[in-house]
Subunit: 320 residues, 2 copies
DNA sequence: TGTATACACAACCCAACGTTGTCAATCAGC
DNA sequence: GCTGATTGACAACGTTGGGTTGTGTATACA
């Protein structure tokens, strides 16, 4: 027979409580916890039932802590940190987490750096395989524990043993030599690039980024030319500087000062790079969820949003 | 889409670890945790996978902590106590747990007293309805949160919304006036009682205890007489003292000194009273599992054990 | 008053985690 | 040594907790 115990307070519930108490907003807190608003609502309700009293006072528009919730918050933080401490103490001697960040010049490296700054126990071993199309087989073989990249336009169907999650969307800007005709523009529209064209280093093995650029060029009817594969940031800058006509694209957060390039926002719409993290569903590495705790779920713009653009396929969840 | 997180360390796992580290025996630890040895084995294995390293060194005959396990133990205790503290702090103002202990003179009251001594946060409101046959309807109506008693020979089939669990088996001894012919025996066999008979106060509404005594008397072919219902321990003692021939039965742990009664063990076999706790599967009371944590699972003797006896029906799980 | 946005409720469904029934290895006693 | 009891592990199976999406309802603001 399968006897039930009444609901017990669990760590997930406590974490949900703490995050929700910070955000005071079920939707945002749900995103941070990688669950839907409804699921979080259930979790909190379960916790409240397990504790026997409400922790939040909700109206349809506002969320605030009840007195009981206020009392619980510091104690919950303490309990969670005691747990994390216990777990971290055991894991110190464990293997570092092996993560592929695509390349030194993209957002994933920055996200990872921020995570490991916040959590010194999070030991990471980087790899840069220049593309999910290359990194994914390594994830499947468990040679690496996680990889960042775009999960569409891969050369094969999605492997069912892998899971992925959107963790960031990064606006694309144009990077233009200072003596270029467009260099003094304060912003550009994709349509403005039609006569100039886009020039990008060949993503080589990264089928998914080639796919992204192809879809971008096709959608806005902009000529696209691939130059030699770029080896490192400096090489990339040199390639961009050589261009007389076509412009290069790069992530908004890249710092162009001192390179001879100017960064010009692209608007109306702004193309977004969707960054997901990919991992093996059965990967037992204990530090994976520690990493997840430092990443927030991101959301794509609404398909009807005319100010921002991602390829149509990216709206569909990946399927094996 | 339903994305998986890799396994996370949970409280259940930590509690399992702590108990197992105390017992160093999966079977016994499983009993204390109210799960089977196999389930506990899985739990520990999950925890070990979540942490990325083994915590126990097992052979088929021995279990010991690995160095990692030794390091974890004090931290785990600390984390668990931080959790319990947080939970307890919230629950102080909550309703007390309403528990039926059958009667002041039986084991459940002692078990409950021990639990509440160990855990001052466990506030209990007692009731003594003199029988599960009376208490169970109250549990179903959620008037009380739990009740102790024997779960067989009830006047109706087992209500499916209730769960129960064996938490104690208590040997029955004979209580005999000091001037009785049998009073100087050091032990009695059930067969010895045939010529004397058993005299017990009428369990009144407690069909399950009447059933127990009936089965005991029938099985050993001992005459059984019910006297007036006993109101309290003193009344019971008086009834026993009045007997010239038939002997009374009572729990081994009852202290008879100063009552004029002598307690004589019954052996070959010793009848055992099976005490279970009963609760409503959906009872959300937060302190129920706190109570459970202080009760251990008990096990009946093997049916082939000739030294101890319980009614045959008690070996079958209750069914609705 | 219409629209956007908040949380809750309902239906569905997957996989986690319990169960029972074995099995293999070891120890104790004859 | 063999035999039986007892250990933890493995396999197959079933239930349900807890996720999902879709919808409902109330509030705030233009």
């Amino acid at each position: 027979m399968y006897t039930l115990l009444p609901m017990e307070v669990d760590i997930q519930g406590m974490r949900a409580f703490v995050i929700t108490a910070e955000e005071l907003h079920f939707g945002r807190a749900g995103e941070r916890l990688f669950v839907s608003q409804q699921a979080l609502s259930k979790r909190i309700r379960r916790l409240e039932e397990a504790l026997g009293m409400p922790l939040f006072e909700r109206t349809t528009r506002t969320v605030e802590l009840t007195p009981a919730g206020q009392r619980l918050l510091p104690l919950a933080l303490e309990a969670l940190s005691a747990f994390d401490k216990a777990i971290a103490a055991i894991r110190v001697s464990a293997d570092p987490l092996r993560v592929d960040v695509y390349d030194e010049r993209f957002t994933p490296l920055r996200m990872l750096r921020r995570a490991s700054e916040r959590d010194p126990g999070l030991q990471v071993e980087l790899s840069m395989r220049q593309g999910l199309a290359v990194a994914i087989p390594a994830v499947r073989r468990q040679e690496i524990d996680a990889a960042f990249g775009r999960v569409h336009d891969l050369p094969w169907p999605w492997p069912s043993e892998l899971a992925c999650r959107l963790v960031h969307v990064e606006p694309l800007h144009a990077f233009i030599p200072q003596d270029h005709m467009l260099a003094d523009k304060s912003e550009l529209r994709p349509a403005d690039l039609r006569e100039w064209g886009i020039s990008m280093p060949d993503p080589a093995g990264a089928a998914e980024w080639r796919g992204y650029l192809r879809r971008l060029a096709d959608h806005f009817d902009v000529p696209l030319r691939f130059t030699a594969p770029a080896i490192g940031q400096r090489h990339l800058v040199e390639q961009f500087l050589r261009e007389k006509k076509a412009v290069g694209l790069g992530e908004m957060s890249i710092d162009a000062t001192g390179t001879g390039l100017r960064r010009v926002p692209i608007v109306d719409p702004t193309p977004l790079l969707p960054w997901s993290i990919v991992w093996h569903r059965r990967n037992p590495h204990p530090m994976l969820q520690t990493l997840f705790r430092h990443l927030h779920a991101a959301t794509l713009p609404s398909p009807s949003d005319r100010q921002r653009w991602v390829p149509d396929v990216d709206f569909h969840p990946v399927e094996s």
